[in-house]
């Protein structure tokens, strides 16, 4: 009974991530890849993503402090961040990445800085949400894998 409840809670939390636009379909793709061989695949990917992208965020941060801004470099970093963000289905982060690159293209330094702040916010927010979600999943046990709607 309790277990069912936690499952339902997980499902709700998960759904809210989609409903609030944090995640997109790509996240479902990852969930579908989860199997006996990699029961925690999604979480592993998310962990990997945050480990790797924090490096990019740092790079971006430093690059944004430079004057004049090297838009090429910024765009390059952001492209990488966008690539991995998009791969885990981090919808909002991806949107910010796209926006940032647009500003890079037009040479809008101010826009870049502003978007980057927004990006960091979304990035951190998603991280917290995902962490909470994965923790719930972990606590609920391995059967939790099946919680996603088919």
């Amino acid at each position: 009974m309790e277990r069912n409840q936690s499952r339902r809670q997980i499902a709700v939390t998960r759904q809210s991530l989609f409903d609030q636009g944090f995640l997109d379909e790509q996240f479902v793709q990852l969930e579908e890849l989860q199997d006996d061989a990699n029961p925690n695949f999604v979480e592993e990917i998310a962990t990997l993503y945050y480990r790797d992208s924090s490096r990019l965020i740092n790079n971006l941060e430093q690059a944004l402090e430079k004057s004049p801004l090297d838009f090429n470099k910024l765009d390059n970093y952001m492209h990488q961040l966008k690539g991995s963000s998009t791969s885990i289905g981090a919808k909002k982060v991806k949107a910010e990445c796209t926006q940032f690159r647009e500003y890079c293209r037009t040479g809008n330094g101010e826009g870049c800085v502003r978007t980057f702040q927004q990006l960091k916010k979304e990035y951190g927010l998603l991280k917290r949400k995902l962490e909470a979600y994965f923790q719930m999943v972990r606590q609920a046990g391995p059967s939790q894998v099946a919680c996603r709607p088919k």
Binding site: A37, I45, Y49, Q80, G83, S84, S87, I88
Partner: protein, 654 residues
Amino acid sequence: MATSTSGAAWKSGDVVSDQFPAGLRVLVVDDDPTCLMILEKMLRTCLYEVTKCNRAEHALSLLRENKNGFDIVISDVHMPDMNGFKLLEHIGLEMDLPVIMMSADDGKDVVMKGVTHGACDYLIKPVRIEALKNIWQHVVRKKKNEWRELEQSGSVEEGDRSAKPSEDADYSSSANEGNWKSSKKRRDEDEEAEERDDTSTLKKPRVVWSVELHQQFVAAVNQLGIDKAVPKKILELMNVPGLTRENVASHLQKYRLYLRRLSGQHQTSMNNSFINPQEASFGAMTSLNGIDLQTLAVAGQIPAQSLATLQAAGLGRSTAKPGIPLPLVDQRNLFSFENPKLRFGEGQQQQQQHLGTSKPVNLLHGIPTSMEPKQLTSLHQSAQSLGMNMQVNTHGAQNSSLLMQMNQPQSRGQILNDTASSHVPRLPTTQTIVSTGLASGVLGRNGITNNGRGAGYNPVMQNSSMLNFPNGFPLGSASTMSGLPSQGSFQEEVTSEVKGSVSFAASYDIFNDLNQHKSNDWDIQNVGLTFDASQQSNSIPSGSLDLVHQGFSGSQRNMPVRNQSNVGKPMYSIGDIGHGNAQNTSQHLNTLLGDNSIRIKTERNTDVLADNGFFPEQFGQDDLMSALLKQQEGITPAENQFDFDGYSMDNIPV
């Protein structure tokens, strides 16, 4: 080209197997660990065999180490160490695997860039598993196309690879050859600093074209202009110690192929026509195939498939014949193995000389130089493999090299034609036959030039093919039989040339047929030949070289020279054969050259013309030989006679 073997693997059965896409060997390259991990998981879910790699350079070295270890490559576009397009370019050049590019970038220009660089697909990140489930189709498609290409051109790599088994046999066939080979090998080793793992076998050494090296190469080519880039100049521009012209030439060839793939057929028809001859030099047999098919196919005048079928038919026939010691394939292999040398040695030297110093003499020089051990061996090889002993061989060799030359000036096709046509009436004692032959030759040349331009080849070919058959055979036999005066021999040659030249494609068929028919007799005879003859071959070269030189210098004295050489070496060893061929060819050249140079002031043109004449000659000779063969099969007592006969035919009239 490189994937051909793995392709074969797929072709042979895997494609058919129920679990086909399972086990597809995929190399994933992405610097983004998250993407890489997801991709890996997705691909594994598709039951593919996945190798992941986070650096393009590493991927390249993986691919190089294990050329047949992968069926398809998926690569990110943006990577810090190497742009994905660069990687794509390299893979296209070196392995010719299907490559799927992927990027979060969905800009049209980026996607376009991927396509133009030869990517078989472009996936926008995030990559979905649905897209990956389908990627095996690229492998199949590629193999399919490749197979067709192979049939058309006798691909370089394939030849190389499959050459291995038969090589040994060749080596063992005669001690002398062994010597040649080893000396050649030594030379190669000296020359090629970056030689790779091939030292153990007497295989063509390879240079690893690193990214930097390739970039240097591309820069040099760009500086020269792709049409004008010849290996020697590229080599000079690159200025890389240890790199040989051969390396550059082979790379250039691949590069051109690569460019051709990129830029579609029309733009590159010039290039192609240039390329093809080069490929042609890979083997008289296959090269012929290659030439015709490729040039034509490239030019788009002949449906590739029909050609393929032609070839396939040819192949099928040859293999179908029982008791053929060396199936066609083997021959091809031999050739392709050796021909690089041929091509490089002769082809390039000649080429360069031709182009660089536009004297008619160049050609001649080119030949002598090319007669060094290396080339000789190649000649031998070609002789053996082709089974048309001396004449064919040298012709083949030289032809191929000549072909290259021919094609370079192709832009001046008009001139060529002019010279050719002008040549016709001027041939001293040309009899009607000859002139007709020449006319057809002109036709052929037209065809060639047209080919380069991609127009109107077909009609020409067909006509010429019509011409060819009649001309080639009757003429060959007639001239030989009746023992025409010295000019008669000319005619014979000329006609044969004509025939060859006429029917790039058409005579091609003939050629195939002939070969197949011949392959039985010829191979056997050749074997005998090589063994017997090889003994004498070593000592002779220098002399024959001189002879060749002489012959060249004095264009009218060819005949005597040739005679001498013949006399000196009544037994045609392989080496001799080579020489003999050289001589023959030189004579041809001379005659042609002589005529040309006298009448036509533009030396280059004369060269070209000579080349043209030459190239065809091969075909003609083949035909002749086969005809002779058939006639004399019963009569000739010993194996050597065969060559000899073929040869003496030429000599007698002189």
